[in-house]
Symmetry: D3
Subunit: 248 residues, 6 copies
């Protein structure tokens, strides 16, 4: 069930059967010469929407802009400051919590979001912790590549050149969902360099075409579909586990 | 051209031909028993994506959560505080401005967003105004229903019962784009009441099923398509005018 | 009754008879070569203070600095960032709400304030809406020129050259109240140009002497007095209507 | 010269002769059964406006709402949070600094404002200090009762019962300027108690009618006029000294 | 009892006997050629830790970074913006208040902190005052040099050259506690100049080696020990008085 | 070299030889019945101060309060909200960056700090990235237990019962540095449970005495000293590597 494609009485009805909602969250940022700017929000959206067709889950609109300051030297990147990102996450959570959702699950598509999302969770929990009132909802963050079975699948698919940004796995997922997105660009060098992540100009100086450690050209529609097919049941299971967690 | 479905070198190339970008912006909020929660962000997205197929424009990802505090007593509504909303708009604009975009056009789908978006524009301009440096980009907000010709079309389509929230026009646009979205729910009363907008519980006390002044049941796929077909050229023309504005 | 010229026991007594308070709100910003920098806060103050002599209303101190970033390239302008302005409005409202005022009416004198004031209202209401508690007070914004009868009066007074900034009507109101304020400056051009409002340097490049679309030289003491005389009963009636509104 | 009663070309002309501006700043808060709620902003306004008639100084609009959280249990008090107050002071200063004012002098009427105003000054200076750029303006805070000669005058006028809130001196100043403001209320007890200042309910529990250590009933129009007459030359001298300070 | 060297069950036990906690608070900033950068946080820590050995008091960790923007032109200074400093104080207080502490005593070592700390107190109290709920704890700020008897002792020790920054008294206290800290640097001039405090570059232009009005070379271990010995009983007495204050 | 025990001319001199500074950062929070509340800031301080005696490094004052909202249901815990924590980190970094430090190394002692510190780094870098100016300094976060060799040492020392909060390793480090801190409390159960971390009351419901997965009673002075002895050279090496990193 897609929240944005439902009416409020339908959400009221859903809430009688489940208190769980899934938020695909990502970033809109450069992904090298072969990857879409939307890769990081498209991937969790693709997986969550595919899962929604198979399981009785509720998927919120996609939180499509995240923390991507280090990519700002590449055109098309849109980034929120961590403080803005955190405030927005807080407002999403407060809104959903107000309706009675007790399990709010973020399916994340961008490694650079993790620290800010977790800091946002702590900021939200803080409000209850200072007051000494128990927070009525639980928050959970899962990166789609950390869903059980996915990392090992990607390692099998891309034993060399998986890397950590503009990876063939994430690009493959978008290619599988949007065949028009397939690009054919020679990678130079074949495998991009590695290094630390700092500000945007430092990043561009280190990573000339935007990739980190990855050979994006390994991405294919078929491999992407394989990932999606593995991620869907893994997600449904992970959400189920979260939803049925016993609260002490 | 959809920004999220492009690569950064493609945006670099686009920037050599145009400095204009369009951001569909809306809200995810109750739209009565017949309207989708996503109505207000789907409408500008539908129109902008249709326009993108006809003109040489660049459409950013959709800013899908807006200022909807007054709808929070209806399930599924997700709202940003005005202050959060403004900070996020600022970050989007700074990101795009950094890449060299000089004309940033927001196509809005939610009346409740207008004050906060304009306040955000002023907050952004302020930073230049206090310093006495000229802001390198221009910002523009247009509600899709204010595009030339649309208001008169809707008045013809819905001479009675158009109202101001969960209007048949906006619902029709979503029905045209997503035929599965069509709902058939008896309106009771046929035309919803009018009144002032305050906090969420006040709103719910005044507007029992969420509509304001509207008879949503007048929405049809055909009427929606008619609106889209009229909005697309109007948008392209409005964007062209903004892009070619002479700067004093 | 002027709040600032009352004692706290007198306000306690007033609160037994009425829960309404009026806040004149404006801006301190350039108004061309003939208009006072204080025009936008003086006008609502003049009208509210005149009304206070005729009706049993309570008028708070004047909120004299507003959102005027676009005027900062002209000396004497003092502007709050929208975010500051909103925080200050919130504090005024919380203070007055705490004393039991249930109808807080802002009589505004600056068009550039509208978006920020409405965003502030939403920010205040949000706090109640997220919590699901009904807000104990209602907020209302009225521009003095939108009081019933005023726009048509000004149209009759100034059929040509009324414009939208440094208008003869607002300048006339200040001239009527402060005859020493009358200036006699040749307008060049007679009617100022129109255009969009952006940052301060853009504004100055478009509007050389600060006026927009107006011929300030049409202002006279007599015309100003006529406006005040019409505005006073209109304000009293509007406030009465707001105060007696039935809450659902 | 009153800034709000001037036009922008007149301020431009003034800036060619002086870079100094005076801001009367106070608070709107209870002042016991005999003192006006506006006392703390009226006093510096009265003194500054009287001085403006005698010297070539520029007086900005009055900053009439300050930090008065401890008075909120008494009706009519309007308080800004320190953080809001500081942001607003920053915006006033940035606006005036942008026009070329180099000496910004706050004439304060409320002891409770002092910490927040000084913290605001440090917040403003910080922005230059972190960057290592010299701040182009100097800020100064003077309480009107600290102007040379005033404290000793008040001590002579009110050897007993001067106290520290709702003092006969501040009330006398408002009585002198607004004879209609004179109230005749028996003080019970004659001299109010002393004690620490904390939150609003603590304050009300300690200071039943709002006064601290003061016998407000000693205030007379004549004594108030005497204070004003002494404060005016003292202010002009203090401002002159500040304006001519040699910068190292 | 040192809070950081205790376990939570030990603090639980302490709270059954006392609701008072002492926070040494200072700044890390230049103190001229003879004074340690840590002087302002070391002094209150030294005194509080010495007092803790003699009385049944609880001493929190030292708040070691304060508001030192004016010293930023000298290497090693670390400053918080007033707004950051205030937010941090609020969080410390909320944390301690949550555990049931009712008397929170800040022993301060930096004059430049005073305004921001007091503004922070007001910000904290505000939250209760707007709501009309009594704040459950009391806050108190004491500068160590304002403890009874200390100012007169320092005046006797340093009749000439005490000054106001990098004073021989504060440096002596650190020398007494850390004999390795003793430096022997010729003071040039012997007594530093006085002047106003503004931004960092202005400060450096006025006060070449960082001192204000002081002859730091008068500091000795013996004089420092004398100050500590006097401050300890004065602190214990002041804390006792605060802890046993009767609440109206 | 300890920054707080140095003078500003000494830091000036140091800066001629090195642009690196180390900030021990931790938290003040419950560590079960045997661990000190200060454990998490004492550990990095102990290690950094020991390293400072052996290598030519500069150690800043300890940042002793971190993000510990989940521990607030245990007495003595002091927590900053993530947003406050981030603002404070920003101010520390800006202060040190202003003096010319180019390598700012945080040695962290609290896992719960990691997300907020990394979010703070991104917030700081953002300011440069939006502007398109290269950030003049590099930031690095290392948890002391992630220094090369430490995790394997702890695994050898505590093959069972190391856990993740109130671990025997961190407690041992404090015992080694402060022998008086040794407590002897029976652990019940011997090994604490594991589980997710949410708000404070949820935490207390899951982890009755505060420990997570740990048997704190395994801590001894000797084991702690062994950890310190291993951490010191590892830290010096890691700092050296960071300081000599080649910037692209």
């Amino acid at each position: 069930m897609l929240l944005a494609h439902s009416t409020w009485p339908e959400i009221d009805a859903f809430l009688k059967t489940s208190k769980t909602v899934i938020i695909p969250i990502g970033s809109n940022e450069q992904h090298g010469p072969m990857g879409l700017l939307g890769t990081d929000w498209l991937c969790p959206e693709i997986i969550a929407h595919a899962a929604e067709k198979q399981g009785n889950i509720l998927v919120a609109p996609t939180f499509n802009i995240g923390m991507a300051q280090h990519h700002l030297a590449f055109s098309g990147t849109i980034s929120l400051r961590p403080s803005t990102f955190m405030a927005a996450i807080e407002d999403w959570v407060k809104s959903l919590g107000r309706h009675g959702f007790q399990h709010i699950y973020f399916l994340n598509g961008h490694g650079g979001n993790v620290a800010s999302i977790e800091a946002a969770f702590s900021e939200i929990y803080s409000q209850w912790s200072y007051k000494g009132i128990r927070c009525p909802f639980a928050l959970k963050l899962t990166n789609w590549w950390d869903l059980p079975g996915i990392a090992s699948l990607c390692a099998r698919q891309f034993p060399v050149g998986h890397g950590s940004h503009a990876t063939p796995s994430e690009i493959a997922v978008t290619y599988a969902a949007y065949p028009d997105a397939v690009r054919n660009v020679p990678m130079e060098p074949k495998i991009a360099p590695n290094g630390p992540i700092r500000d945007a100009l430092d990043y561009r100086a280190r990573f000339a075409d935007g990739r980190i450690g990855a050979d994006s050209s390994l991405a294919t529609i078929a491999l992407g579909q394989e990932i999606i097919d593995a991620a869907v049941p893994a997600l449904l299971k992970d959400v189920e586990k979260f939803s049925t967690e016993v609260r002490p």
